[in-house]
């Protein structure tokens, strides 16, 4: 964790270098989308906090470790596209959890707010990924990756780890029969996960 500020700094320098070497067209759209993404993500974090007055103390007993995959932190220069894809996946999974299971625990207006917010998040990420695909940014990023020495190269991140994580959450809800405590624990966990990805949105800014 202590290497993160260094990592983010290195990423910023790498982006500046990329801007010099790669004569690509500026995509104002993606930059603007990123502004909205950060804003919406932060709002969602606040919604997740305000959905419940406080975490009930009696639910602490049932808390389990879901083991959020923190693979991005291990690499000095994670690929932006990988992070965006993972964030998109996470947004959809969280949307799924708060939409599909019929339950009476949350107030409807809170549910609506979080569903709106997560859908917005996913939309912005999807649009940006489409933009990147059209501009061949992922090809450029892959070429950049090849130029680096092998130990700095980031292997293709499969979304499998993230899915296993959400599978654990889903299983937990099913096992506990969607009890109130189970929902509280899941809410806190998803908030943790969202915050983890929120911190990476600072990397998406392109010069």
């Amino acid at each position: 964790m202590s290497t993160k500020p260094d990592m983010i700094q290195k990423c910023l320098w790498l982006e500046i270098l990329m801007g010099i070497f790669i004569a690509g067209t500026l995509s104002l759209d993606c930059n603007l989308l990123n502004v909205h993404l950060r804003r919406v993500t932060w709002q969602n974090l606040r919604h997740l906090s305000s959905m419940s007055n406080s975490f009930p103390v009696e639910c602490l007993r049932e808390n389990i470790a879901f083991e959020l995959p923190q693979e991005f932190l291990q690499y000095t220069q994670p690929m932006k596209r990988d992070i965006k894809k993972a964030f998109y996946e996470m947004s959809l999974q969280a949307f799924n959890i708060f939409s599909q299971h019929t339950f009476k625990y949350w107030k409807e207006r809170h549910l609506k707010q979080i569903q709106i917010g997560l859908d917005q998040q996913a939309e912005y990420l999807n649009q940006c990924l489409e933009e990147d695909k059209n501009e061949n940014e992922d090809m450029k990023e892959m070429k950049e990756n090849e130029m680096k020495p092998s130990e700095a190269r980031v292997p293709q991140l499969s979304s499998l780890e993230l899915r296993r994580y959400f599978h654990r959450i889903d299983n937990f809800l099913k096992e506990k029969k969607y009890s109130d405590c189970a929902w509280e624990i899941v809410r806190v966990e998803i908030r943790r996960c969202l915050y983890y990805f929120y911190k990476f949105t600072a990397l998406f800014r392109r010069k």
Partner: protein, 552 residues
Amino acid sequence: MMVVLLGATTLVLVAVAPWVLSAAAGGKNLKSPQKVEVDIIDDNFILRWNRSDESVGNVTFSFDYQKTGMDNWIKLSGCQNITSTKCNFSSLKLNVYEEIKLRIRAEKENTSSWYEVDSFTPFRKAQIGPPEVHLEAEDKAIVIHISPGTKDSVMWALDGLSFTYSLVIWKNSSGVEERIENIYSRHKIYKLSPETTYCLKVKAALLTSWKIGVYSPVHCIKTTVENELPPPENIEVSVQNQNYVLKWDYTYANMTFQVQWLHAFLKRNPGNHLYKWKQIPDCENVKTTQCVFPQNVFQKGIYLLRVQASDGNNTSFWSEEIKFDTEIQAFLLPPVFNIRSLSDSFHIYIGAPKQSGNTPVIQDYPLIYEIIFWENTSNAERKIIEKKTDVTVPNLKPLTVYCVKARAHTMDEKLNKSSVFSDAVCEKTKPGNTSKIWLIVGICIALFALPFVIYAAKVFLRCINYVFFPSLKPSSSIDEPLKNLLLSTSEEQIEKCFIIENISTIATVEETNQTDEDHKKYSSQTSQDSGNYSNEDESESKTSEELQQDFV
């Protein structure tokens, strides 16, 4: 020798025994299949293999499976004693994200050895099966309802709402295909011809997992007869003051319109009970091709809007749905700024616009600012466009009043939004540099001259005092000598006055100008002399007598 022979025979026996045994069994050695293919579609696992030996008949095959990390092999139900070379089984109670291993063996009277299939993660191998499609026809559009092929699938338990779909559509007559990608489970295809049969097939995709599914079977539907009233077109949303303005085009006049909205996220989740198009009250039965409604109708989010026309008897079909993001279309407030005036320029500091009520204002929106300034007296305006919030307006005349107003623009070409101009703020520039210098010099001179001025004033005052208000007392230095003179003569007179002899009866007053010292010497001498005078020296007495006589 005997031992060697014995050893040799046992060796031979051991080598021959299995062959003999198998010969006794009456068949060749069974080999397990060497290649097994695993296909997974939704929750169905399909295993296919080749027989290792075609000539041998009545062979059955069985499968076991093992979860990674476990030691035991479990019998795979549904794939035991299979005579053909294919078997199906469902997900069982597997965790589809965990790796599993399969093994197969052939059986007849005896069993072959196990052949282990390479381990795999079911989710990775899984393909998305054909989705279910339901169609509704309008005159120039088709509404498509898509749902996953397998309900409550174990494989796609986490992906119920994450599927995106793509389809291929063609006219039955022409066969020219059109592809539509990345659509949700409720979609409408527009701009079709009426009374035409269209056919389409749909496949699902999970883009983040690089999965593209299998096409559904082809579905065909015929569009209806052309409706009397066409749907409204070219719907646009803009912002004015605190309202949203919705405008559209319509070919006929004298129509009434109504507008409906829906949360965009419900497109991902059409099964939700909230999936209902709702009316906008301010836009019900409007007679113009526009309607205005306050911003607080919509909380922050993405919405879909649609418009319908009616002439009293008939209604048109719904227009195309437009997507409307309240944040991206938010009202841009004019910027607030401070001016710091110098003699030849203004420094303008632009700050965040003031929020009022529930107007959504984006703080970190990338903006550029247009600043217009003019001399208060003239009307000639000059413009500066800056990205920074710290702007310098140069080349101004000193001691002149200039007025400034500003507005913000979004940087994105696609959005192209501007705020209105802020109120004009007028400020006077400071005095110029040359007059400033004179001012400074003047102050310095004044400070420097001050002590001199004070001194000169003091002298002047003294002069005045002396001339107009003189003092009456004589000065002490002039008085002293006169005083002494007067006092000393009176004393001498008293001391000199004495009678030595009766020669002269007249007492002479001697006046001397001598100092006090001489006077004292003289008086002491004469007193002594008077004692010795009569008897002794004649000279001495003579002198005193002579003296006395001189004086007389």
